[in-house]
Symmetry: C2
């Protein structure tokens, strides 16, 4: 799996260069990912009503379901930048298109970084031109691309899967950047995926929507949805498989594999959350509805009290059960069971007698599973969160705009 790079699927090239947007010496900040032929494409964007300029543009571009390239800059989010921001985002697409000899409406633009400041277009222009010129199909260039989209991420995040569709092998690969907060703002989640599968626009859209719902949309660092979140996939169709169409077994397999890739990336985003020291999986089952399960899981996953308890290695069942109780979803404490790392800590409305030593071992781990069984129905929801540390406060308080 680790051997699969963004450029393992046939037909893709990439590059990452330094244009000088980021102050840090040597930091890459402009990336280009392109497909040698018109790719079938899909993308999903932030639901934040304060959407950044590239997101506003991207929503239009993606309607056609065709892309040749993705151009990304880090260090500046081009958000809250008004009309000028929209012009700049369009200009990024045009610059990329001109350098590659394609059309601007085949280019998806993404930005991440500081908000409220205009893009330094001179630097961006030279960066895009350099990246387009440099784009190659080498592992090195895939690495450079993944570095160019990073902000305060401490490590690159890549994942991939290889599997058969009929008798042909198909590859899906992806990179992401995550929950590093960007001065003066919030985390932006960006994910770019490539595949050589031959797949219809409709099947690809459906697969991406399902995969994102169960991966990137099921993680929380601090409940903030950024202005710039974007997940996009390009399919070159060069694997030679018989075309995957919506509602078939091969579509289900593709969706499953895409979900696996996105889930790997989502896990890595949570594991690299600013100030985070642990990854906590919250599973709520036995709910009366999926909406209830989701509300409860999110209330637990977003609770500062719960997150502080995990940081302090404290198996604090009271905070978890009470978070479930206050979110408005149906639950009955008398039917509720809570396990932490497989150890029952609460059952039938009262605390269970758990082995303190075993519980302490569970709480010392990096990965901790919380499972709340509601006993009301069959719906469930799973999400990932991190803990809330002193370091989180330091990072997010001590920076001054």
């Amino acid at each position: 799996m680790s051997a699969i790079s963004l450029l393992t699927p046939k037909g893709f090239r990439a590059a990452g260069v330094r244009s000088g947007i980021k102050i840090k010496r040597g930091a890459l900040d402009v990336g280009v990912l392109l497909c040698e032929r018109p790719a079938t494409a899909a993308a999903v964007f932030t639901t934040n009503k304060v959407a950044a300029a590239p997101v506003i543009l991207g929503r239009k571009i993606i309607c056609r379901g065709r892309l040749r390239a993705v151009v990304v800059n880090s260090g500046n989010a081009n958000a809250c930048t008004g009309k000028r921001g929209l012009r700049d985002a369009k200009r990024m697409a045009e610059l990329c298109a001109r350098s590659l000899g394609i059309s601007a409406d085949e280019v998806l633009v993404a930005s991440t970084g500081i908000i409220g400041r205009p893009l330094p277009m001179k630097k961006i222009k030279s960066g895009i031109e350099a990246a387009c010129e440099k784009a190659s199909a080498s592992a090195k260039s895939a690495l450079d691309f993944s570095r160019a989209i990073m902000t305060t991420d401490t490590r690159k995040k890549a994942a991939g899967r290889r599997f058969a569709i009929g008798k042909k092998m198909v590859t899906i690969a992806g990179v992401a950047k995550g929950a590093g907060m960007i001065a003066p703002n919030m985390a932006t989640m960006l994910a770019f995926l490539t595949t050589d599968a031959d797949i219809t626009k409709k099947a690809l859209q459906e697969a991406l929507r399902t995969a994102v719902e169960n991966s990137f949309n099921a993680i929380t660092i601090d409940g903030h949805t950024s202005t710039n979140d974007t997940a996009a996939i390009m399919a070159s169709g060069m694997a030679g498989n018989s075309r995957i169409t919506s509602g078939t077994g091969s579509a289900a397999k593709f969706t499953k594999m895409l979900t696996a890739v996105c889930s790997d990336l989502a896990y890595r985003i949570v594991a690299d959350a600013e100030g985070g020291t642990k990854v906590v999986e919250v599973l709520v089952s036995g709910a009366a509805s999926r909406a209830d399960a989701r509300s409860i899981a999110r209330a637990i996953a977003d609770s500062p009290l719960v997150k502080c308890a995990f940081y302090g290695k404290d198996p604090n069942w009271g905070r978890i059960v009470s978070a479930a109780g206050y979110c408005g979803a149906r639950m009955n404490p008398l039917r509720t069971q809570l396990t932490i790392g497989g150890i029952t800590v609460f059952k039938n409305g009262v605390p269970a007698r758990a082995d303190a030593k075993k519980l302490s071992n569970v709480m010392a781990k990096h990965d901790i599973a919380v499972h709340l069984k509601l006993g009301l129905g069959k719906a469930e929801y799973r999400c990932l969160t991190c803990d809330l540390s002193h370091q989180y406060v330091t990072i997010n308080a001590d920076y001054h705009t």
Copy 2:
């Protein structure tokens, strides 16, 4: 105002004693507040589905709208304690009733403290008996009562108003305990109010509901609603005013004054939040509906990123505007204006040029007003929050169950 104590309204007596539930030497932990005659009464309770035993009992008791006494213990919340907990809560009412020679269904019980552990009933019994015996109408006993309901509050919280109904002077007074997190659990908000107004059950219920909605329900420390939250008022009717009935001008005046008392107490709860260093007022106006205004105000007030920014004295408009954008309520950044301490920092979708020096002065203050104007309608919502500090993480992570 500061001269008004819980016992200033005619007809009340109180006491606070040490029963030994709390380990800390000398700490008071059982309080009794009683009315010399049957008081008209109203109460509101937590909406958490994991309600503590005294809350389950209290919801039944309050239906009659009559109380003679309130009995409270701190140090143990009697929550998540199953059938035994309910028996213990009833027993507390019975013990209080027997000592005072009244009926158990005239006694409201409240508890706050650690959850998931049975009440130490022997200590509680002697505490209740001692408190009932000691109950007097002196200022000292009002102070003891307010100390007996505290947990990790660093100071007592009292407020009052004196005003005319017709030609008679009426007093409303109250005490509260707040956002000290109790090991191993969450904050509990308790408020007990007294008045000598002559008022009908219906008018009193309506007044309390309105007052709580605009005070205790409009504050947030960390978004957690406790299992034990209770606000109760007893009216002795001894002021001699002509009876206040629902829907009249005197009811409106009473409601306004009760809201003022509750708002004072709510402010003090936020100001004494664990780890909090600032009180931030979030006002959202110009919303398309009150529900939208409330969603946005709560999203801002509960955002860890926003709260960290205030701790760091950082006028981070991006976090505030983006929190407004992700909560699902209607907003349009192009119509949105944000002021911090009266200084415009965001307008028409882009940052405003604010005077950095003035802004820095505003951010250095203890009380900061954030006002988001949406420009969509006429609805508004106001709430109070605190900042998120290293100390909050320390308090809530470093404690071990």
